[in-house]
């Protein structure tokens, strides 16, 4: 075997896979032994150049996403993927949206008397103790309502109880979202809004039970 042939064979097979003729040449040719030894050294040093795969900095995705949006490659918002998304999905359901809108209108048009407990948390986030305090206020209001007009069969009371149930469901969804994403300010605002709606609804219900209006 000639040196050129050996080089090609060695480049192809490496030291471990050398055929007998190439191994024979290696034992006889000093130049090829040097070549093989040098390549072994290079291969060994090359392994030290390897770096552990690491995530690209967050700005790469931020820039990429902006570019994709600018080019119209991203065409729609992400599908439901988190607790917060489930709040949005819940709001999109037509009957819920209708009920929610109806409650809002009811609260604004009939009896806007927010409780002091709710007002106190209006500008603050609803995390931790504030959330618990709000829940306690609402529970007290609900208890007062259920001990009074809850058994009434009047159309208004039935509608109020139905709306209360809808708001309770919405609160449950919002609470779940806030638990999953406690720092999501928008989720907390929605939860606060849900609590506020419930307070307004209970105020309305209790006022109605006191005045006895149909």
């Amino acid at each position: 075997m000639h040196c050129t042939e050996f080089e090609l064979t060695f480049g192809d097979a490496g030291r471990a896979g050398l055929p007998a003729a190439a191994a024979q040449h290696l034992s006889e040719c000093a130049a090829c032994r040097n070549l093989a030894a040098d390549i072994d050294i290079i291969r060994s040093a090359a392994r030290e150049l390897a770096i552990e795969p690491q995530a690209a900095p967050a700005r790469v995705w931020t820039n990429l996403r902006a570019q994709l949006r600018a080019e119209g490659i991203i065409r729609e918002q992400a599908p439901v993927s988190s607790g917060w998304d489930s709040v949005l999905a819940w709001l999109k359901r037509p009957y819920v949206a209708g009920a929610y809108a109806a409650m809002a209108l009811l609260a604004i048009a009939v009896t806007w008397q927010p409780s002091n407990g709710i007002e106190a948390t209006e500008s603050a986030s609803l995390a931790g103790t504030q959330m618990s305090a709000t829940q306690r206020n609402l529970d007290a209001m609900e208890k007062a309502f259920t001990s009074g007009a809850a058994q009434s069969t009047s159309i208004v009371d039935i509608a109020l109880r139905k709306n209360l149930s809808v708001v309770d469901n919405f609160i449950a969804v919002c609470e779940k979202a806030v638990k999953q994403e406690p720092h999501n300010e928008i989720a907390r605002q929605y939860l606060y809004g849900a609590y506020q709606q419930k307070a307004e609804l209970l105020n309305t219900a209790m006022e109605h039970s006191l005045t006895g209006e149909e």
Binding site: G11, I39, L49, R75, P79
Partner: protein, 213 residues
Amino acid sequence: MARTRQAGTGELNEAEAIRRAQQGDEFAFEFLYRMHNRRVYALCLRMVGRTAEAEDLTQEAFLQLFRKIGTFRGESAFSTWLHRLSVNVVLMRLRKKQVAESSLEETTEPDEETGGPRRDFGSPDPLLTGSVDRINLQRAVEQLPPGYRAVFELHDVQGYEHNEIADIMGCSIGNSKSQLHKARTRLRELLHEQERDRAREARQAAKEVEQES
């Protein structure tokens, strides 16, 4: 690498993410990016050596990928397709840079003795034993032509097999082997040149000390 991820409404896997990305779904793009960005970024970082440039190239590779994702039909693995794109993006950058740098070097840094580009000929190559460290090798790798460098990086540094490199580079396995051998041989020459430079500098320094005394 995990190919699925909990996605709120159920498991999202790579195939589903590709399908949704083809419809312009942002979450799917992000899913694919998060799944593959580590290897792409590592490849870019190894090939160019500078984080800012590696970030730029990673972004460029994914941008090209997502621009073309509508054409992906699954004939090859998605990761192979992405790595091929990434290597191409990096090679294009290196080739542009090489043209700019080599023309600059040739006009501004002539060899002291000949007046032409710096080059050493003649002396027989001694064994490299003990003289190759990370820094020397890295310096030599940076001088390789982009094609050699890519194959060397993929095979000897990152541990890809020749069949994988052939897929990524769009060449035959034989071509990958041949390129690798040429890359190693060229590296050997460059490392010997480095040794000769160091020896020459040592002799020069010794001569200066002798003259001063």
